[in-house]
Amino acid sequence: MDDDLKPKRIQWTLFFAGAAALAAVPFWLAFARPFGGTAMLVAMFVWLLVYMAYVYVGSSRLKAGRIGPVMKRYRSRLAVAMMAYFLFLIGSLSLLRGGEITGPLLWIVAAAPAIPILGVLVVMGLYLKEEPDEFERMIHVEAMLWGLGAVLGVSTVWGFLSNAGVVPSPPLFLVFPLFCLAWGFSQPIIRRRYQ
């Protein structure tokens, strides 16, 4: 009767291995810099589309209809926010490259890519507010705490290392993706404890 609840371990493991490999790509792009300028932006955008499609299709298939309406709404909102982020990012970077913008407009253009990311925070908050299943909500809150722990841990260690000049100063814009990764990858571990 409860066979359908038994985790499809191998499929999930493969799915997460694939997601981890894909998630490493932007970090590699940011540090190794195999492309420059516009090619880099196109590469990042293609990566985003591939990653979103992979996670969306893969998790939908593995969960086989177990995704509630609130989670569906969260996923569509998130997709919109991420698309907006890349458009804002491309716009902002190409305007900044011209080097003609100064004064208050420079502040606005430079900070523009952060606006959709703040939107993602709101989307996450709305999900927690709208989720009717208290257990699901608790799992996500716990996973977010793991994300917070990962961010605090990594940035503290990195901070001290960069103080000593061992590593370059931490790229702060990667703090949010790190939070999201730790949030996502901690979920199966948390869920296992309640099985």
């Binding site: 609840l5 177990r66 509630g68 208290e134 257990f135 699901e136 309640y194 099985q195």
Partner: protein
């Protein structure tokens, strides 16, 4: 916290999915409740009590 959810569900011949649908939660939530690894909030406990037409203390066992 120990509870009689699995027994009550079996008596009615409901699957975990059936109970999940009646309570508007996920099957994983039902599983976590039945194994006693997750204790429901008071509103959810009352909802369960209403569904099974039994008082909360007849469903969830006080071990204190």
């Amino acid at each position: 916290m120990k509870n009689r959810l699995k027994v009550l569900r079996a008596e009615r011949d409901w699957s975990q999915a059936d109970l999940a649908e009646k309570l508007q939660v996920s099957r994983q939530t039902i599983n976590a409740l039945e194994t006693g690894k997750y204790d429901p909030s008071l509103p959810l406990a009352f909802k369960i009590a209403r569904l099974f037409e039994q008082p909360i203390e007849a469903i969830f066992l006080d071990e204190a």
